[in-house]
């Protein structure tokens, strides 16, 4: 479904999730939707990538989860950013910027 191969997303998905969550706690579906909307539909995150990433980030302590009530009035798991998550986002952002700049230096010049 994605218009880019999964490899492209790999490694940047964590950073995207962290960034999205700076806006406040969200459940999984909303996070996926926000990434899709935020990229103008260019990136569509599959369930098979999104949820494992969320669980792994929870294990690393970047995210916290708690049960809340969703817009459907149902019990849903809401994720929030932890302090460690915020630090991770900062370093991911810096790394990505440097990487993109380096790649651009070749690709754009050509």
């Amino acid at each position: 479904m994605s218009r880019y191969p999964a490899d492209f997303l790999h490694g940047t998905l964590d950073a995207l999730i962290l960034k999205i969550l700076t806006g406040g706690p969200m459940h999984g579906y909303a996070i996926g939707k926000s990434i899709e909307d935020g990229t103008g539909g260019a990136l569509e995150v599959e369930e098979g990538s999104l949820y494992p990433a969320l669980y792994r980030m929870e294990k690393r302590g970047w995210l916290d989860a708690e049960w809340g009530t969703s817009e459907l009035g149902r019990r849903a798991k809401f994720y929030r950013l932890t302090r460690a998550g915020r630090q991770q986002l900062a370093s991911d952002t810096a790394a990505w910027t440097a990487f993109a700049a380096a790649v651009n230096r070749i690709l754009i010049k050509a």
Binding site: E47, E66, S70, K77
Partner: protein, 884 residues
């Protein structure tokens, strides 16, 4: 943050399966809604949303990750709690320095002593030997009538040509090496060896080479390999020594190699080795048993196979050379086992005893901890009230005991590090590998294990005490509530009972050793050894090969010594009593058959000998200057030999064949005197048959048996004067001759007793430590009980109870468990003291008098430890006590 997360996960925690299932169900719900909103048919939309979850594969993956996530949280929580417990325990240590100091010091003594002894056990017994595959290196022996002994050259050679289970078979024989390179003559203990000796142990030389097979030939033997020790001491580690010539026993020897330091620890105390170079005549000699022989066995061969082959070859040897080998067999043992000898048992007994002392120390700390917990019952109740489970509180208590044990362990290691060199210096000579003792990796691991074990022993009772409580609510009150009340004295009494039992065992062992020691001190040696100085010299073969030259040299030395100031009497002996060395011969009384040979210790002496040592004569006469080779050949024997040879008949005038002649051609000497038995190997060893020949009558061959080495003995009051008399006389006769083993017989005796004295000292120190610790434990329990019952004591005294009554009632709480523990301890002592059997002298391992005295001592000390705090209770003013 961490706390919030923990609280939340505590409150919200649901099984991972439920968590994942609910989360994905919610996702499907929203996705379906989205698709419907885009105009997809609702049934189609739900199917599409489900399909995107890949038939449950995502659910399974999330469950797996979630489980790992929960595990890692649990670990983190456990670590967090441990950190909390440790920091709480450290705070407890800071706020109760007295308690902490007492507990840590007690554990330090126990753990330190145990670690120190373990390090010795490791160095002497457990550590593998420094040569490759130590379990293949054997000491072999020839067996004659059940006794293990040395090899003759002929027998060794016979085996060497036939053995198939060994890769190496080597012979060695001790030799005195007089080093006289410069003006400092020195006598060095060396060995003459066959070339296979070094490859057998498998250690390469540090410098140069070892012996080649052709250096086994006579005439090519003037080469020497130095030990690391000698190389360092005498040649200052000079690497150019290899290839140089040094003077040994008056001849020039080429230094061909130097062995590494590791070779000093294989169990050979020699400092230099020279080739043994058997001559064809020697190879044909099947008597004269003086060789040690070692073997390295092939990898796929078992000990049983080796011993089978030795027995088989011995059998064919007996058939080929029946004269001396008819009753002879052969066998082999691990060299390491032989070398460690009975130190294995002794050291393990010591380790067990020090372990018991550690247990006693743990008992004390457990007692202290119980008292601390009683005082902290309120705090524990609060912890329980805010949600700490019982398991959590138990863990906290075990953590506290672990912290105490760790401090105790560190302090104990410092103690061991400080005490080890002292212990090694005090230890008697001859404990194999003792000086290699260090606090190395295995020892540190053992110390860590001791810390863990001590923490468990210390913490288990207190933790159990707290853990079995269902409710702590009663303790929330004034802190004197249910937990402190429930801390029933029986538990602490059990502890002091157990301590009493352990102390009883240790004390009984120590008491037996002390009694043996006293018995040894009082055992008569059989002659007047005070005021006798001995010194040994050895005449090298090169200058003194002819017996005439040796006789002349000794006569001249003796004349000079005799006339020196400070010397009242002087004599020569081939083997002075109480000193090492010497040989024995098979004696055949006239009229007996060859089967009745009496193996007897030989003394070749000058006439003055008996007035130097003052041995009482039972009958007959001493030697005189008239007893020369041309006169009638005479002999003096001791009582044991007289009894063995002639029973109750008078020995004087009877004849005994010895030392020369051949089977079937006896060479008789006439017995002219019988002297009293002498305990010549120390008070613990029974007297053996001994005989004396006049030095001037011995056959020429006897000079080679003794290696032309004799002991000069002088009697006098002034030891320095006698020492310089001997040194001066020897120097005047031959300035290159080293004088060695210059000892008074008092020193020799104390050297023989050093082992027993050291063991007794260690055991007594350990027993005293255990007794003091147990007394402190009893004291603290009774003091605690008294503090608990101050009010009751006040009431009793107000109602007219006498101080006596109060002391009786209170100290009974300590004395009763001590008596019970004592009974158990006596049973324990009866079961275990036989391990000391080989260290005891004229006292049985179950000696009732010793056990009774030990029990009495323990009872008195225990009673006093209980009575002192009880007595202090009676000094309380009743009105004060009642107001409490």
């Amino acid at each position: 943050m961490a706390l919030r997360q923990r609280l939340r996960s505590l409150i919200w925690r649901v099984p991972v399966e439920v968590e994942v299932h609910e989360e994905l169900a919610h996702h499907v719900e929203l996705r379906t809604q989205e698709l419907i909103d885009r105009g997809v048919d609702p049934i189609e939309a739900r199917a599409e949303a489900r399909r995107r979850l890949q038939d449950g594969r995502i659910e399974a993956e999330l469950t797996r990750i979630g489980r790992r996530r929960n595990d890692s949280w649990a670990r983190k929580e456990w670590l967090d709690e441990l950190k909390q417990d440790i920091s709480f325990a450290l705070r407890q240590c800071r706020t109760h320095p007295g308690f902490t100091l007492a507990a840590v010091l007690t554990l330090a003594i126990g753990i330190g002593a145990t670690t120190a002894i373990f390090s010795v056990v490791h160095a002497v017994v457990l550590k593998p030997y420094a040569y490759p595959e130590p379990d293949r290196v054997l000491l072999t022996y020839s067996i004659w009538r059940g006794n293990r002994g040395s090899w003759s050259v002929g027998n060794f050679n016979y085996f060497d040509q036939r053995l198939t289970t060994t890769t190496h078979f080597a012979a060695a024989s001790g030799v005195n090496l007089n080093l006289a390179d410069d003006d400092q003559p020195e006598r060095v203990v060396g060995r003459r060896v066959t070339h296979d000796f070094f490859p057998l142990f498998g250690i390469q030389p540090a410098l140069g080479r070892i012996f080649t097979p052709d250096e086994d030939q006579p005439g090519r033997t003037n080469v020497v390999v130095l030990s690391h020790r000698l190389w360092q001491r005498r040649f200052n580690g000079d690497r150019t020594i290899v290839g140089r010539a040094i003077r040994i026993n008056g001849e020039s020897y080429d230094v061909v190699g130097v062995m590494p330091a590791a070779f000093d620890e294989i169990g050979d105390t020699s400092e230099a080795w020279v080739p043994i170079g058997f001559t064809p005549e020697q190879l044909a000699m099947f008597d004269e048993f003086y060789l040690d022989a070692y073997a390295r066995i092939k990898p796929d061969v078992s000990m049983a196979q080796v011993n089978d082959e030795f027995a088989r070859v011995a059998h064919s040897l007996a058939a080929d050379h029946p004269d001396l080998n008819r009753e002879r067999s052969a066998g082999a043992d691990l060299w390491s086992t032989f070398h460690v000898g009975d130190y294995r048992l002794r050291l393990f007994v010591l380790l067990a005893v020090v372990g018991l002392v550690l247990l006693i120390a743990c008992g004390n700390v457990a007692n202290l901890l119980l008292a601390r917990l009683a005082a902290r019952s309120r705090e524990l109740a609060i912890r329980a009230a805010i949600g700490a489970g019982r398991g959590r509180i138990v863990r906290q208590i075990l953590t506290e005991s672990l912290v105490l044990a760790t401090f105790g362990g560190v302090a104990g290691l410092i103690l061991a590090w400080w005490a080890l060199p002292v212990l090694i210096r005090l230890a008697p000579d001859g404990v194999p590998r003792l000086t290699t003792t260090t606090l190395n990796g295995p020892v540190l691991a053992a110390a860590a294990a001791l810390v863990g074990a001590s923490a468990l022993v210390v913490g288990l009772l207190p933790a159990w005490q707290v853990g079995r409580r269902r409710s702590f609510t009663e303790d929330l009150g004034d802190g004197k509530g249910a937990l402190s009340g429930a801390m029933k004295p029986w538990m602490r009494q059990t502890l002091i009972g157990a301590q009493a039992a352990l102390v009883m065992v240790v004390l009984a062992g120590a008491a037996l050793l002390v009694r043996s020691s006293i018995n040894l001190q009082q055992e008569p040696i059989g002659f007047d050894y005070h005021g006798v100085l001995t010194a040994r010299i050895a005449l090298p073969e090169a200058q003194y090969g002819s017996p005439d030259a040796a006789r002349a040299a000794y006569r001249s030395v003796l004349e000079r010594v005799q006339t020196s100031p400070g010397v009242r009497a002087a004599a020569l002996d081939s083997q002075a009593p109480l000193t090492p060395g010497g040989g024995s011969n098979g004696l055949l009384p006239e009229g007996k058959t060859v089967g009745d040979l009496i193996q007897s210790t030989s003394h070749f002496v000058t006439p003055q000998y008996f007035s130097v040592v003052n041995t009482p004569f039972r009958s007959g006469r001493a030697f005189t200057d008239a007893d020369i080779r041309q006169a009638e050949l005479v002999m003096i024997i001791n009582e044991t030999l007289a009894r063995a040879a002639f029973g109750s008949e008078s020995a004087i005038g009877k004849r005994i064949s010895c030392c020369e002649g051949a089977p079937g051609k006896p060479h008789y000497k006439t017995v002219v005197g019988v002297v009293a038995d002498v305990k010549s190997r120390g008070p613990a060893q029974p007297a053996r048959p001994e005989f004396y020949l006049p030095l001037m009558q011995i056959p020429d061959v006897a000079w080679t048996w003794t290696g032309r080495s004799l002991v000069i003995m002088t009697r006098g009051d002034d030891v320095p004067a006698m020492t310089s008399a001997i040194r001066g006389a020897v120097k005047a006769v031959d300035s290159t001759l080293p004088v060695f083993r210059i000892w008074t017989l008092d020193e020799s005796l104390s050297r023989i007793m050093a082992q027993a004295r050291f063991n007794t000292l260690l055991m007594t120190m350990l027993a005293a430590t255990g007794l003091i610790l147990a007394a402190l434990g009893i004291y603290s329990v009774i003091a605690w009980l008294v503090a608990q019952r101050t009010r009751e004591i006040g009431v009793r005294m107000a109602l007219g109870a006498s101080a006596r009554d109060v002391i009786g009632i209170m100290s009974a709480h300590g004395v009763k468990p001590v008596v019970a523990g004592l009974a158990i301890g006596v049973v324990g002592a009866l079961a275990t003291t036989r391990l000391l059997q080989n260290q005891l002298f004229e006292v049985g391992p179950r000696d009732p008098l010793t056990l009774a005295a030990t029990a009495l001592l323990l009872l008195i000390v225990g009673g006093a430890a209980a009575a002192i705090p009880a007595w202090r209770a009676t000094t309380i003013d009743p009105s004060t006590a009642l107001r409490e």
